[in-house]
Amino acid sequence: MVENTGKTLRTDTYRPVNTPEPVSVEEDAAGLPVALKKKRQLKIAAIDDRWRIDDEWWRQEPVARLYYAVRLASGERLVLYRDLAGGGWYRQDY
């Protein structure tokens, strides 16, 4: 029998980096992001790029995301994605 080493198991010993941050996004009729809602509404001036990721489709919770590289009216650049599997918008550095 394996003796108890007395070591406490810790759940916080591994942290993923760059986890997605849920955000509120206003969409247009075509489903494209037009504004980002934070404390105040930040208008999206342009969509520079768009790409889709489909991965881990063999799992119970597959990954299906539609990424948008957007530029705000202030000039700031962000990467947002819409979770096609679970729904909702997220912000994430790609």
């Binding site: 010993t13 591994y14 993923p16 980096v17 760059n18 990721i53 994430q92």
Partner: protein, 392 residues
């Protein structure tokens, strides 16, 4: 091994004559003080019956009209160092055996100097004519020294052929052994190297001890003494003369500080410190005081070097009022703190880990994380890297 010996006879007197040409042609004796005794260091070549280290009174009994000169050993040393440096331009292996005697390793120099004449010419150029150098070339130091001694002033002698015949008639006084052994040889009726060479090893060793074997070997022309080339580090010499003679420690320290400032001005760009220095003083009555100071760690600034010198000056008082100070830097070194250690990285990591553990002990939970690659190729950004607690 082929050795070349450069002898500079009457070197102290010639240094004095170089500094003050008026003494040429006048009988002069260079003296130094050893405790309360005054002894002869050197003398004009035309004076006979004198010997080095003989009491001055005895010398004056022979030549009462001789002019007395107080030895300025730091100056002689400085001139000799200049000659050694010039010889080092010709060969990297140069040993300054004593003032006025240098050995040069000349193996392999035939690629630069095709024959002995070219080699001798190059060596003679390194020594100014003032010193009337005598040069000898032979297979070891002792034979090269003898060859130089037997060469005419300003000339040379290359020892080849029957070495036993050359040595046979030479007096035992030429042997570089203790005065006690020389006297003992004389007591036994052994006056020449030929007689010494004929001795059987056992009885010689029983009578003379370890020196006996050396006497026999040298008399047979065998000398296994290696050449000790002087270190290639640049020798830094500084001299200062005080405005007035003094015994005040503060005044001496001011002069030392001045010299150290000049020294650090020279070695500063090298980012090196002083590992060893020799401090010499000369009193108004020509007594000399000399101490070599070693630094456990290279002294990188004036303040630390001065503190060490101050302690030496306090512990070893001057023999009289000082009029001149000189300083030779014998060895330089790099600061220990800047030397890279094989294990420096491991040590640095150990210190870091200790600090992190201390932080966690105080604040709880992991506080410092390391970014690690998990799936750097993943298309999903959050799968690429992870944070793991540092040190676990």
């Amino acid at each position: 091994m082929k050795i070349l010996c450069v002898l500079l006879p009457h070197f102290p007197w010639r240094c004095e004559a170089r500094r003050n040409p008026e003494i040429k042609g006048r009988p002069a004796v260079v003296t130094y003080a050893a405790g309360s005794h005054r002894l002869v260091l050197d003398y004009s070549p035309e004076l006979d019956g004198l010997q080095r280290d003989m009491p001055l009174q005895q010398a004056l009994a022979h030549h009462g009209d001789a002019e007395l000169l107080h030895a300025d050993v730091p100056y002689y040393q400085s001139v000799f160092n200049g000659i050694l440096a010039a010889l080092e331009q010709r060969s990297p292996l140069v040993e300054g055996a004593e003032l006025g005697c240098a050995y040069v390793g000349v193996d392999g120099l035939h690629l630069i100097y095709p024959d002995d004449d070219a080699l001798l010419e190059a060596m003679r150029e390194a020594v100014t004519e003032t010193f009337a150098s005598q040069i000898g070339i032979a297979g070891n130091k002792f034979l090269a020294y003898l060859a130089a001694r037997r060469s005419p002033p300003g000339g040379h002698r290359v020892l080849t052929g029957d070495i036993a015949a050359f040595l046979r008639k030479l007096p035992c006084d030429v042997l570089p052994v203790s005065l006690k052994s020389k006297n003992k040889l004389r007591d036994f009726g052994i006056y020449t190297l030929g007689q010494a060479a004929a001795l059987t090893p056992g009885p010689v060793q029983s009578q003379f001890g370890p020196e006996g074997r050396r006497i026999r070997d040298l008399a047979r022309g065998c000398d296994d003494t290696p050449l000790y080339p002087r270190m290639m580090e640049e020798s830094i010499e500084e001299t200062t003369t005080l405005a007035s003679v003094t015994v005040s420690l503060e005044a001496l320290l001011v002069a030392v500080e001045l010299m150290l400032t000049r020294v650090f001005g020279k070695i500063g760009p090298l980012e090196m410190g002083i590992r060893s220095l020799t401090l010499r003083t000369r009193t108004w009555n020509a007594e000399t005081w000399e101490r070599t100071i070693q630094f456990k760690e290279p002294s990188m600034d004036i303040k630390s070097a001065l503190a060490r010198v101050k302690r030496i000056l306090e512990d070893y008082p001057q023999p009289g009022p000082v009029e001149n100070l000189s300083m030779s830097i014998n060895r330089l070194g790099y600061p220990r703190g800047r030397q890279k250690s094989l294990f420096s990285e491991i040590r640095a990591r150990e210190h870091l880990m200790n600090d992190i553990r201390q932080l966690e002990f105080r604040l709880g939970n992991p506080q410092v994380f390391t970014v690690k690659e998990v799936e750097p190729w993943s298309r999903i950004p959050e799968r690429r890297y992870a944070l793991t607690p540092t040190g676990r």
